[in-house]
């Protein structure tokens, strides 16, 4: 299905144009340019929600332009029920990030805003790319602005955190590139993601490819034990950086698993399911335990992210409809809730210049609006029914239950632990008596700050109370993913064909391109 209007290209080009524009205006006007650009991007993205056809099984809003002929790399974009919510979330989070940085960023504002906007293009690009090389370009392009966000506008220990983030994720990405190239040769000389998703690969090769993908995606998620870059990066990053990191960047890892590992490597995915489930459950419980020990608000939320993302990977790898839909919904939920929590931390940091729990106590009395919104995000974070996170976690648990009762019981322990670390945090930060030292600075939210938090709070309840419109848009795409996983298996012993470098015939790739259910 080719729509007449290039919605997705517009989504990609707008922020880039905005980034260029920031260099032709004054420092303070750069904020307005960035805000206008991100809002414009949001208003381009929003109609897609209604234009999207939930019944269609193909990619929608597709665009296809040949880019390089040999090897055949193309600029092809498309959206399905899995990427739609993620693109919308990205477009929705970015204006909030600009607003959150309004006064917090004081040095080279133009550069900061430009970096944010470049970031937006790269992130949307990752979710809409249908060519593996194009995907990889966006994937890597994302690293540099994020590196700059942390390394230039970050906290005191920013260089260590920035380099750790960069090298850690880059190391994974290199293996991803190798895997992409291997797939190119085994999958019929194409970088077309949809065609590659229909290819069949020998089981032993799948295992190696799965591990290569895993290196890239598990670091990004981050899965236990590859999570230690996350608390460092969060603590040093400016508020907008933390929000982007938590809300969007982490989702790229789980998106990668869902878009590449599951459909391209179905046999390996099935083989690795027990391991992935165990790692997810460890992440859920271990992350929660770590959160319990923190005295720094950002570290607490960072570790809680490890725990929450454990639910996402758990849902993905139980390989059923409920689990995967719950995982996708949980990606969006985590973006909303954790994004909101990081925004809240940023707001209080601007007042007390401390992220330590001990310095920010008793906020309910001086800042009632702030306290209310913080409590709402916190309750969503602990998965209270009626909020968005409950729906996602519930679906993941339903999916997990179909796979193993014992695993579900273990994962459910995370629900108790989440309540413990979140309420323990609330008890200290919101309740109690504020320290007289900070009291003069504790002004309640201004209009700008309300504008950053209220949209997220509305989404918390909208998804919590009426999740069906959100989930029903995923049904068809998730069904496709699961259906494609059950396609014919190649015997594990199948040798590479005699041609050596090109084991699969070049034309078989062409055939696959045209007959897959997505096309």
């Amino acid at each position: 299905m080719n729509s007449s209007f290039p919605w997705l290209s517009l989504l990609l080009v707008l922020p880039l144009a905005g980034a260029v524009a920031t260099f032709f205006v004054t420092e303070s006007a750069a904020r307005w340019v960035a805000l206008a650009t991100t809002l414009a991007d949001l208003f381009v993205a929003l109609p897609l929600w209604w234009l999207f056809d939930p019944e269609a099984s193909q990619m929608q809003f597709t665009e296809h332009v040949a880019w390089i002929t040999t090897p055949p790399i193309s600029y092809s974009l498309g959206l399905d029920g899995i990427s739609l919510p993620l693109v919308l979330m990205t477009a929705g989070i970015m204006p909030l990030c600009v607003l959150a940085s309004w006064n917090a960023i004081t040095t080279s504002i133009r550069g900061f805003m430009a970096v944010l906007l470049v970031m937006e293009t790269a992130m949307v690009g990752v979710f809409v790319a249908l060519d593996f090389i194009l995907f990889y370009v966006f994937w890597e392009a994302m690293l540099i602005p994020m590196y700059l966000l942390i390394g230039v506008w970050g906290g005191p220990n920013r260089l260590y955190a920035a380099i750790k983030f960069f090298l850690y994720t880059l190391a994974g990405s290199v293996l991803l590139l190798v895997a992409i190239l291997v797939l190119y040769f085994y999958g019929g000389h194409t970088f077309d993601i949809l065609a590659l998703s229909q290819g069949t690969y020998p089981a032993s090769l799948q295992i190696w490819l799965f591990l290569a993908f895993f290196a890239a995606f598990a670091v990004k998620v981050p899965m236990f034990p590859f999570h230690t870059w996350l608390p460092d990066a969060h603590v040093e990053a400016p508020t907008a950086g933390s929000v982007i990191l938590a809300s969007i960047l982490l989702k790229m890892g789980t998106y990668g698993f869902l878009r590449f590992s599951l459909p391209m490597l179905p046999d390996a995915s099935r083989d690795f399911t027990p391991l992935m489930v165990i790692l997810s459950i460890i992440a859920i419980i271990y992350g929660a335990y770590m959160a319990l020990a923190q005295v720094d608000l950002k570290k607490l939320i960072a570790y809680s992210s490890v725990s929450h993302m454990g639910f996402v990977t758990l849902g993905l790898f139980v390989l059923n409809q409920q689990g995967i839909e719950g995982a996708v919904l949980q990606m969006v939920n985590h973006g909303i809730t954790t994004g909101g929590l990081f925004l809240c931390v940023g707001i209080i940091y601007e007042r007390t210049h401390s992220r330590l729990i001990a310095d920010n106590v008793g906020l309910a009395a001086p800042m009632p609006q702030y306290a209310t919104l913080l409590v709402i995000f916190a309750l969503s974070s602990l998965g209270l029914p009626g909020t968005n996170s409950f729906v996602g976690e519930f679906l993941v648990l339903v999916g997990t239950f179909l796979w193993s009762k014992m695993a579900t019981a273990c994962a459910s322990l995370g629900i108790i632990l989440a309540a413990t670390y979140i309420l323990w945090m609330i008890q200290r930060v919101v309740f109690g008596v504020p320290s007289p030292h900070h009291l003069p600075a504790l002004k309640d939210l201004n209009h700008r700050e309300l504008a950053t938090l209220v949209p997220l709070v509305l989404l918390v309840f909208l998804i919590g109370l009426f999740p069906n419109p959100f989930v029903s848009r995923m049904h068809q795409s998730v069904t496709n993913t699961i259906a494609s996983m059950s396609r014919a298996k190649v015997a594990p012993t199948a040798p590479p064909s005699a041609e050596g470098t090109a084991p699969m015939l070049a034309d078989s790739g062409e055939q696959l391109k045209t007959q897959g259910p997505w096309r």
Partner: protein, 632 residues
Amino acid sequence: MTYEFIPLLPLAAFLILGLFGHWIKDNAHLVAVPAVLVSWALSLLVFFDVADGHQTSFPLYTWLTSGTLDIHVGFSIDRLTAVMLLLITTVSSLVHIYTIGYMRGDPGYARFFSYIALFTFSMLMLVMADNLLQLFVFWEAVGLCSYLLIGHWYEKPAACAAATKAFIVNRVGDFGFILGLLLVWYSFGSLDYQEIFPRAHESAGDLINVLGPFGGTWDVSVLTLICILLFTGAIGKSAQVPLHVWLPDAMEGPTPISALIHAATMVTAGVFMVARLAPLYNLSPTAMTVVAITGAITMVVGATIALTQTDIKRVVAYSTVSQLGYMVMACGLGAYASGMYHLLTHGAFKALLFLGCGSVIIALHHEQDMRRMGGLKNKLPVTYWTFVVGSLALAGFPLTSGFFSKDDLLISAWSSGSLGQILTVLGLVTALMTAFYSFRLVFVTFWGPSHVDPHHADHIHEPSKAMTIPLIVLAVLSIATGYLGIPEFLGPMFETGVGGAAHEGGAAIGIMAVATAMGLLGIAGAYYAYVVNPALPDRFARQWQSLYRASLNKWYVDEAYDRTIVRPTFFAATELWKRVDVNVVDGAVNGVARAIAWAGWLLRLMQSGQVQHYALGMALGVVVLVTMYLFL
């Protein structure tokens, strides 16, 4: 029909107060009270409608679909629901009115009203739910309201700690509940009551291997597992042993919510849930036994602790724990109608007792220790007389509602079988303790010489009409609910014939006589120990010091949890973070970086730029190659 409006009106009140409470401030009751009163009137209509034999159940909207999972929000109205609706809206209305007086001048006046309106909405949705997930959602929502209201006075550290504790302890129960819920869906393919109940018979013999793909086999009866897991939730919500520890601490919250949430409605949700799922529980004798024994233990434990507490609200709180034990025990013995009957009468007289406590507390400027009370009888006559009525009902004094419901409960328990007969004996012993501690409370607080802080002693006066009228209404209800014929009304709901017919015959009269005697004996004992011979309790406490201490310190359950769970958890978390996460996991990452840097340094040594070094390297290489060629 008007069903939707019953919960929606309190919800509207909540939304208005939540969004505009800032401006409404001290007029908050003008929004909340009318909303709840209309809900009450509608509930009354529904009650009569249902009494005429109407039953209905209808969906509102589809909440979530995914694969074969299909969940909607909907209502199911039958006799059980109707009774609960009436109880909730009645107590809630009275508590709303009482709050006008109790919370007057509180800076969080509007916030308080918004939360109790939200609570009322959630509780109504809980009992009207037509599926288990909706029940669970509002089960958690009432827990949230409880959390927010216990922590209403957030500057008080004890209140905040109690709020957190209540939520987390309930979460432990909910952990079981959600697993039970998943198992219901897994076994029946649905969460709707109407789908589950007819299919329950077919699965009666089914086994399930709970160990799953991790290997091993452990087959358990599906229904037993479901019932016990769901009951775990009830253990938390209805404060049964061993998760009862949160309820007494919850008394840190303002007294109106102790009456509404922690006596009359929310804590009975567990009992309601078991009664609602009677068709499942009936099929699992094992689960029923677990329920009955848990209830019986709670009944005894609660009463023994209530004997020695000195905080008036805590006496009533432990009494609530004990009375909830009675109800749960009745459900476990199959006497659901009796359990629900006691739930209803208890809702009236326990709300009365709490509101009476609140009245005393306000009169004494937030004094809660009964050792600093006494002699209030004449200064607070309305409070005193209504309190006496509530205590008589709690003690099971003849012709009060508590007399009828407790007798009905014990007689049904006795007729249910041999386990029931053992538990009935425990129930009779507990009845003695109940009468004793409730009149200990009356005598120490209202009789005898005054121990009130002389500072306040002179201006003790009866609170405003907003507070006394609810007391009077509840006092009337504490008598009247005994004459409404609730067991006959609810009886047909439940298949098992426990109760009803068994009420005739010698055993029934015998139990009634013993129970009444126990009640009177308890009252007389309290009179002797606290009025006639006030030195006796102290002497007794000294003589039986270890027992006294154990009761006073609530059997050291909190201390045990603190030592075995709370502190080890925090200790483990901190140690795990500092030692494992920072040193081992992150240490490995930094170690890899350092190893690479070191390898780079090593390799750099080779590029010295000096020709002699390279020549030496070549020569050594030649030697190695030649050696290999010669000898290998």
